[in-house]
Amino acid sequence: MNAMAAQRWNFWGGIITALTLVWAILWAFPLYWGVISSLKPDDEVVRPYIELWPETPTLENYIDALTTTQIGTWYVNSVAVAVGVTVITIFTSMLCGYAISQLRFPGRIALWWLILASFMVPTSALIINHFVLVANLGLLNSWAGIMLPQLIHPVIIIVYKQFFDQVPKDFREAAVMDNASEFGILFKIYMPMNWGVTTALSIVCFIWTWNAFLWPFLSVTRTEMMTITVGITQVNDAFGVYYARQLSAAVLAGLPVALAYLFFQRRVTEAITLSAGIKG
């Protein structure tokens, strides 16, 4: 190999790495800036020059946000809705994915196509009729109402089916020979094999629901029923704008999902690539 060419290759490689690093820092800077601004007292936030670190770091904005807005209630709403949607979606999708993959029943192929087809349908086009439906059920301004239209994630069924498909059929047949009950087979044999996928999908399903905006925004009009993602944008101060306080509310709203990502980085990225149809 030509030595000069190798050297040139490495030189440019170094430049590209350095550029990537600088770019990454600039990319994440607005996040840093948001957090730092939320730690500044009111008078420091509006200073006409750039201060990358607060002169007198303070938590008063957080205390303000927690005590003067209903952020605590919104947190409870968000957790309830996100956990509810995740549990119901994962459970129903797993059962359905298992049935389509392992059992033979009439309508199986039709059901599978129906699920694949619904992948293409934009749910944001359905907002009018979701609203009518939920209103008719008397579920506006309720957890159940926020949850109902969010319970369908065809992609989760698709991922489960693909995973169950990889299990050899002999597995189930042997268990049937042993007189194991159908539900026993699912819960004692198949589910433990897929714990990894189940956790990964649960985490992203939680994050998707936590982050949902359009539907929770439409279905809730009462402040105390809002989820945190909607609440922090809907309640403005009557006495002018407190940027730092708004930012501290934003940090509080983003923290759970950011932490979920940082703790389960591998699982989250795995689930997201899986959900896009790329095998991990």
């Binding site: 550029l19 359905c96 059992l103 199986r108 293409m120 086009a125 359905l126 319970l151 159908e182």
Partner: protein, 294 residues
Amino acid sequence: MLRNSRTERLVALVLVAPFLAIYLLAFVYPTVQMFRISFTDAPLIGEGRWVGLDNYLRLDNDPMFRRAVWNTAYFVLMTVVPGTLIALLIALGVSRLKGRFQAIVLALFFLPYILPVSVVYLIWDWTLNFQFGIAMHVLDWLGIPRVPVFKSRVWFLPAVAGVTIWWTAGFSILLFLAGLRSIPAEIHEAAALDNSTRWTTFRRITWPLLWPVTSLVLTIQLILQLKIFDQVYLFSIGGRPNDNMVLVYYVFQKAFQQNQGGRAAAVAVTLFVLVVVVSVLQFQLLRFAERRRR
């Protein structure tokens, strides 16, 4: 065996039932209803009279609908291809890094994607704030006059497009990284031995091998951006929503602010058909490309 297959069917029914019930109630039924009320003059809640194709014919010379279509198209133009290119560049840079260092750099790029849209909105509204935003200090320093970005007709959509790229790039980066990882390292080593330049290696090897992922990213982005609403709504608070009208916003405005369920449904059906056609078209194209490759 007969008894067995009958139990199998019964079990299947029990397993499928919960999903199917939710699916029929919260998906199939609303979809059918959406088509039905688009032919009536129904308000948001309540029944209306049958008006045939009237709601659709009206769209033809509805200036607001036209604006919504154009703005959506403009937004798609500014986000889909540029966003995909930026994600590809970042993925190429990140894929060169190793181990822990790679994980940290990837996290910096990926974090925005994991955040709720309202947090993204608050952060950027603050960063680009006309009076106190740090971006404006930078403009002052560069000697460029300040711009009230989200109050300006010209800058609103480009700025929202930029924020959207920042917010959603993480997802595309992940897909590109997965694609890059599946290219065997030996291919690149062989290219380096052949004295081929970085650019030729990319053009002749990486890019063609990455094309399936690229088209996947483009499709997902296209469908996602056609449905733009959240960012436009949020950044328009206290601004001029009518100038920044996009399709889903128009559905929202007609149904929820003007109480015209039937006419809103006609817009929704248009969007619905648009997204389905794009998906089917893309699916066919992908299949075609795959067949040609073989």
